[in-house]
């Protein structure tokens, strides 16, 4: 059953109406829930407008790029009649607003058209490639989160010592070095010289892949109880994920460290010290939590960026992800695929942004109170 954008709009409207019609007096937990629903409804409505705007922008950009997509798709020696037939099929012979109308009409029912490069439906491509990129981004995010916060905390804990300086140097290197450079280094060291990790793909050719449930190999392997595929998938994803995470990880470390240093000088920490609370408790109970708020804000954005920025990593490791698919689509002027891939990344950004707002609100009571909670 397809859940279309139209249906989603109806649900949002219903939520909006319900929240306005709410009872006059409610218990505190109910008030919190209603506030949350109102907040979500508002954000989702904003998101719908953002995504429609994005689709118009991308559609126009894709259409004005030089080159005839029909000729590109049919091959340079294709006869003119075949090219004209495809142009007609794709409404390329119609004005841009009409083209957009047809595209939007199909897109809201989940049909993004056919890819001119893979010759399959774009939806089919996305279903295949998106989980691969998502899996890569999740592993990278886990590494980025753990390593970034740990390094930042250590750096902040030992502020202005040689440990702090060392972590700062590492962080600077991480920030200024493009992820593909890390990828090349890691391949050279861990695949070429040490032969510890495989170089390409998601699974070795001799391994039977798990049946597709989520499309994420390691997760599907776990669900179906296939430890061989899980282990093999884990080995395949390790280097690309770490390469991808290095830059954002360094960023997280820097932000955590500077936030810790800022908060450490505040009065409430001095008061806690004066009360004789142990340093370890101050650090982990009172200092780290508020210091993580900027880290989490950036973490969310970094997570969404990981997927879009993974192009070169996916290329080097021959990882069949959406980022590489999207970039190839741009290079080959694969109109439908370009728009769909960018829309998917747009949706990921929107969802992650909402999730960050919710997380930050939970962590920071000031924001909660400001929004009436």
């Amino acid at each position: 059953m397809k859940f279309t954008v139209l249906q989603a709009g109806r649900v949002l409207f219903w939520i909006h109406r319900k929240t306005k019609e709410g009872p006059a007096e409610q218990p505190c937990s109910a008030r919190n829930s209603m506030r949350l629903v109102r907040f979500l409804a508002k954000r989702l409505m904003h998101a719908a407008f953002v995504l429609i705007g994005l689709s118009i922008l991308i559609f126009l950009i894709a259409r004005v790029m030089p080159g005839n997509p029909a000729r590109m798709a049919m091959g340079p020696r294709a006869p003119q009649w075949a090219i004209e037939k495809l142009e007609k099929q794709m409404y390329l012979d119609r004005p841009l607003p009409i083209q957009y109308f047809y595209w939007f009409k199909s897109a809201i029912s989940g049909d993004f058209g056919d890819s001119l490069v893979t010759k399959r439906s774009v939806s089919e491509d996305i279903i295949e490639y998106f989980p691969a990129s998502l899996e890569l981004a999740i592993y990278a995010a886990v590494f980025m989160g753990i390593a970034g916060v740990v390094l930042g905390t250590v750096s902040g804990w030992f502020a202005n010592t040689w440990i702090d300086n060392l972590v700062r140097v590492i962080a600077y290197i991480g920030i200024v070095t493009p992820s593909f450079v890390f990828a090349i280094f890691f391949v050279l060291i861990f695949s070429y010289w040490l032969e510890l990790f495989p170089t390409i793909g998601r699974l070795s050719s001799g391994i039977d892949g798990p049946p597709v449930i989520t499309g994420m190999v390691t997760l599907d392997a776990l669900i179906t109880g296939n430890p061989a595929a899980f282990w093999d998938g884990l080995k395949h994803i390790f280097l690309p994920a770490v390469s991808l995470a290095m830059g954002p990880m360094a960023q997280e470390a820097r932000i955590t460290r500077s936030s810790l240093a800022d908060n450490a000088g505040k009065d409430f920490i001095a008061a806690e010290r004066a009360c004789g609370i142990p340093e370890r408790t101050i650090m982990f109970k009172y200092l780290l939590k508020p210091s993580l708020i900027p880290t989490i804000s950036i973490y969310g954005l970094d997570f969404a960026s990981l997927m879009g920025n993974a192009f070169l990593i996916e290329l080097i490791f021959n990882w069949p992800g959406l980022s590489r698919y999207g970039m190839n689509a741009i290079l080959q002027k694969d109109l439908n695929a370009v728009i769909a891939a960018i829309m998917v990344f747009g949706v990921v950004f929107v969802i992650v942004n909402i999730a960050i707002d919710l997380a930050v609100e939970r962590l920071d009571p000031r924001i909660r109170f400001r929004t009436g909670g």
């Binding site: 030089p66 005839n68 893979t118 010759k119 050719s205 391994i207 093999d232 002027k333």
Partner: protein
């Protein structure tokens, strides 16, 4: 600490338990390619697609080392006196991979499907084949609109699909009327083939794995690869790592000089130089000032430093001699070859009507942005022309824009540098696509020759059924073209591959390769010794 040790122990046991599960093939052949690869015979026509198709599908005839057609699915054939009807007798013992027998109706279906879809190699048959008849299960007749001498050679590109299997997977409605989508969606990731390799796994953006068809109708050498993998990557570091780990047998043709040098230093890895059926051309616009002047063009042809191109920019290549590559059947060795001679260049330039106004007539050369090495050639050209007083503007242009701009005479640049290859092994393939008037609005002919004498000569040659007489006419055409000097014939295409020479017997590496794109890496001709 104990918990940590237990966890580590667990990981070690887990690793040991599952690290040996991967079952490698006995004689794998793993190769890297520029992607995408299309395995639908009516769609694929690029290098990787023709390799995949050639491994999994059968054709009526196959080329020998010289490019001459030899029986394959067809046991014999004859052509009518007027050259318009070709009758083929088919083998009766051929079965598709699913067990269905291959019959003449499958051949008819394959041609009809290709012509209807209009993609891939359809241009070879479109406008030439009038009808296909299958009077009995082992006879197929192609009726042509006009006599076409090289028809047999074009049949190297007619891959026979299983009609029953394809039609069972048709999606209706589709763009092809009652045929729905003609099985296009299904054939993106499936095959309906009878060839020596079967499709085992196809990850559209990642890899294609084929396993040996043990029931193949033809006897294959016991040492042919039992599993053939095409990997969709050309990344230098990835290729080098795979090769050094023994996980790759043949590297793609797109590796740079530096990468090839590094690869060839790996133990057991050799370098194969394979001549291809194409050439690198600098196509000169013959209808746009100042390159519309033949003396101006000849001056450029004499001023160009071909030796630097073939020794430094594209090392190992050979300067081309006329418009046809040396390996192509129908090439004429007696054709004139321009060599760098600045005195002759200046003398020709003086005869040009633009000689007195060279400053006002700069030449614009476009090179393809996706092939960075072309820039070096364009810059060398600029430097060479400066020596005789011709001003050159070098412009980097994306491939798609070149396709667009060469579609009209006004927008075509003075010169564009392009690699072009023949799609069937006869000189006519290039003589037609490069210089005949109907191709003047395509990227294959920036020259805009539009020469009716040439067109008539070519038409006559194509109608000649006798191969030897036809080749003589090709020779005349080559002389005619060189005399017009519409092109700087840079070098014959040569692809270089790093390969595992210690375990592979690869005829193409010894120079034994049919002059047909995609035939150099067919598994059936390769032996793996382990």
């Amino acid at each position: 600490m104990k918990v940590l040790l237990k966890a580590l122990g667990g990981i070690v046991v887990f690793t040991l338990a599952f690290s040996c599960i991967a079952q490698a093939a006995d004689r794998p052949l793993r190769t890297t390619w520029a992607w995408p690869t299309y395995i639908d015979p009516a769609v694929g026509s690029d290098n990787s697609s023709t390799n995949a198709l050639g491994n999994m599908y059968d054709t009526l005839v196959v080329p020998d080392k010289t490019g001459a057609p030899q029986p394959h699915l067809a046991t014999s054939w004859n052509v009518s006196k007027d050259g318009k009807a070709w009758t083929f007798k088919l083998r009766r013992d051929v079965k598709f991979h699913n067990g269905d027998p291959l019959t003449s109706s499958d051949v008819k279906f394959s041609m009809d499907r290709m012509l209807t879809i209009g993609e891939g190699f359809a241009h070879l048959f479109s406008g030439k084949v009038d009808a296909v008849e299958a009077p009995d299960t082992s006879t197929v007749i192609f009726k042509l609109k006009d006599p076409f001498g090289p028809f047999l050679s074009t049949l190297f590109r007619l891959y026979v699909v299983n009609q029953k299997q394809v039609m069972a997977n048709v999606i209706t409605p589709g763009p092809y009327g009652d045929k729905g989508d003609f099985g296009k969606k299904w054939l993106v990731s499936h095959t309906a083939a009878s060839g020596p390799y079967k499709l085992k796994e196809f990850k559209v953006e990642e890899r294609l794995v084929m396993s040996l068809n043990t029931d193949y109708w033809q006897t294959l050498d016991p040492l042919v690869p039992d599993e053939y993998t095409m990997l969709g990557t050309t990344e230098a570091i990835t290729v080098r790592t795979l090769m050094s780990r023994g996980e790759l047998e043949v590297a793609d043709r797109w590796q740079s000089n530096e990468s090839l040098n590094a690869l060839s230093r790996i133990k057991g890895v050799g370098l194969a130089k394979i001549n291809g059926p194409g050439q690198f051309y600098a196509m000169i616009h013959t209808k746009k000032p100042p390159t519309d002047d033949i003396h101006f063009r000849k001056a450029m042809a004499y001023a160009m430093d071909y030796d630097t191109v073939t020794t430094h920019l594209f090392p190992g290549t050979t300067q081309a001699k006329g418009p046809i590559p040396r390996m192509m059947p129908g090439f004429d060795d007696s054709v004139f070859q321009y060599r760098r001679d600045l005195d002759k260049a200046r003398a020709e330039l003086e005869k040009s009507r633009y000689y007195s106004a060279l400053d006002k007539n700069p030449v614009v050369i476009h090179w393809i942005a996706e092939v960075p090495d072309e820039e070096k050639v364009a810059l060398l050209f600029m430097s060479n022309m400066a020596e005789i007083g011709i001003n050159v503007d070098v412009v980097k242009v994306p491939w798609m824009s070149v396709v667009e701009e060469t579609a009209a005479m006004d927008t075509s640049p003075h010169i564009v540098t392009i690699f072009d290859e023949a799609h069937y092994p006869e000189a006519a393939a290039l003589l037609q696509s490069r210089y005949a008037s109907p191709s003047a609005n395509t990227w294959e002919q920036n020259e805009w020759l539009l020469d009716s004498t040439y067109d008539t000569m070519l038409e006559e040659a194509l109608k000649t059924m006798d191969r030897e007489s036809r080749f003589k006419q090709y020779a005349e055409l080559q002389h005619y073209i060189v005399e017009q000097c519409p092109t700087l014939f840079m070098f014959d295409v040569m692809s270089r591959h790093a390969y595992r020479s210690d375990i592979m017997d690869w005829p193409a590496a010894r120079g034994e390769v049919p002059p047909v794109q995609g035939y150099e890496l067919l598994g059936r001709y390769i032996k793996i010794r382990k």
